[in-house]
Amino acid sequence: MISRLSSRRRLAEPAQPSLLLLPSDSTSPPDFLPCLAVLLPSLSISSVLPAPAQPFLLPSLSPSFLALSLRSSLLTAQPFLFLSLSPSAHSSRAPSYSRHSSQQLPYSVVAPHINKEAAMTTMLRELRLSLNQTQRVRLQSALQSLQEMSSLASTITVVADTIPVNHEDSILKGHGTSDLNGEVVATLCGVVERINKLVYVRAQRARYKPEVGDIIVGRVIEIAPKRWRLEINFSQDAVLMLSSMNLPDGIQRRRTAVDELNMRSIFEENDVICAEVRGFQHDGSLHLQARSQKYGKLERGMLLTVPAYLVKRRKQHLHHLQQYGIDLILGCNGFIWVGEHVNSHGENDSAANRENREDAVNKTGELQVIQEVQEPERTTPLEVRQHICRVANSVRLLSALGFNLTVEFIIDTVEASISSNTDIKDMLAAEFYVQTAEREVQRRVSLSRKH
């Protein structure tokens, strides 16, 4: 007659008696049942075991001793833990590592399932949104359907996963892969892409990887001899040389020392600039150029930062949204500029500066600051400002949701917000957030149906 009663206690939990009848290797339950039935009432009398008490252990002895101790405890009517061991049970618990290694893994993690709630709460934490229950449910179902729709499950790898490859073909191992014992193993977490003979892994959350010809938006942080240093979303600062920038008078000439001293009149610290990547310097930092009319200083608008991997490389990054009168620049580095439309940098500058030069020539040696040559200080109309705010909010919303940023998507979101009469400030609120996710689900469903 062997059986075990045990009460498992965990840290920081109130000790509760729990009767677990664990059959060991050789039990004859019927014999024990009467004792058990007697035992139960005694435990229920005083329900809480004294917290720091160690379990009251009895040495394993003959069954006669069991009966004796049982009776004595009933008399005292005090709760106790009665444990007895059989020799076989004891030996099974003795450490034997050969057994352990051949058995299944010894981890008893209570809840190893990955918590999708956790991922969503992280996302919501960033936005500081509080969804009520229905909204939460809707959002989760929308995200769930998005996940089901994406047919990428077969091609996602995690670090150190083997990539299934047909060994007979000659395979070129690209980025994110390495060779391990003749197998192709992923070194990144991401999606496996196969193009002809090339197999590579595209990482999802990578840093901005600049390429020549990228259009980026940056902020001036320092003026150094003959160059401006810009902060872009990269590990190092980018450099815009004075010679890579058009002079205000538009003439192509050699930069003199006077030009160098007047650098601040072109760009100052904390100015936002749009430029193009010309190349890399020897230490890996970027070289920029802003020679075209479409590049240069950006004014009258907002700069937003989004994760760089959400902006895909397209043919056009500088968009002019005519219906709103807004310029939208999607920098490849994750800096997005939304601002009032400026006709063309060149026209304004050259018109103003031609007059400037004439006046400067007329006055000799006297410092005349001519302000009226510039266009009169005009304020951006309210409607344009509202549109700018709407576009900016939709960019923030989409980046928080983790969707790719494309002009069409942004315009769609803005249209939806206008048509549903959402206030600009409500665009970042929970309701519109959930609606946007749902709309995206529908859009993708319709897209997949078309194909």
Binding site: P59, P95, H100, V109, A119, L143, L146, R207, Y309, L447
Partner: protein
């Protein structure tokens, strides 16, 4: 003090000698970092944040409130520097550094709550954060500790068992390649028992590696599905 009940075989917190504590990993907890993770092993909670590629360096710091009494821990104390060095060497072994020349990877690990096994939790959290940041790694590094108290090898010691003064073996392995990157021990052990204890710790590491892999897979799927086309 009986660390393992001689009759029941339970430890002080009710686990069996080869039971690990409950583990939990969460990715993307620090919005500003390139990669970040929160890793919990029982009551030990650790946050790791990765900024990079820059240059390989690691900083270990215990928050004031992480242990029982709230004390001010000077940053440069010997234990911190030792653990920083240990974590750095472990991660250096698995990061493919030759792909990022002249770059710096900053790994910041902060212990929020310490209940034994902080070293292991830090390494596991750093692995998750590095994978989240998209830094190419040879393999997933995981770490676990095991000890030998009351003549029983115990897996995943908590603080009370750790401070008992018995031997404490911390092992870090590259799961798939079956290579050991970290092996540390306090106190003394006869060699045959040491082999058993180390084997137990390696089993624990493999279990954690499986869990970490699942977490990463789920996270990748989530990000990819949302990004879409």
């Amino acid at each position: 003090m009986e660390y393992v009940d001689s009759l029941t075989g339970f430890r002080l917190d009710g686990r069996r000698p080869n039971d690990m504590r409950q583990i939990r990993g969460e990715i993307g907890v620090v919005a500003k970092a390139d990669g970040s993770a929160l890793f919990e092993m029982g009551n030990t909670k650790v946050i790791a944040a990765v900024y990079g590629p820059r240059e390989v360096r690691c900083e270990y710091s215990m928050a004031n409130f992480s242990t029982g009494d709230r004390t001010r821990r000077p940053k440069g104390d010997r234990r911190s520097t030792e653990i920083s060095l240990v974590i750095r060497q472990t991660m250096e072994a698995c990061i493919l550094v030759h792909l990022m020349p002249r770059s710096q990877i900053d790994i910041f690990v902060q212990v929020l709550q310490a209940d034994g096994g902080t070293r292991s939790a830090c390494i596991n959290a750093a692995t998750l954060a590095l994978a989240d940041a998209g830094i190419p790694m040879r393999d997933i590094v995981t770490s676990c500790s095991a000890g030998y108290l009351s003549s029983t090898p115990l897996l995943d010691l908590n603080y009370v068992e750790d401070s008992a003064g018995g031997p404490d073996v911390t092992v870090g392995i590259l799961g798939k390649m079956d290579k050991v990157t970290l092996l540390q021990m306090d106190s003394k052990l006869p060699i045959d028992i040491f082999e058993n204890v180390m084997q137990l710790a390696i089993e624990g590491c493999k279990a954690i590696a499986q869990y970490i892999r699942e977490v990463l897979l789920e996270n990748t799927k989530l990000l990819e599905s949302r990004k879409g086309l």
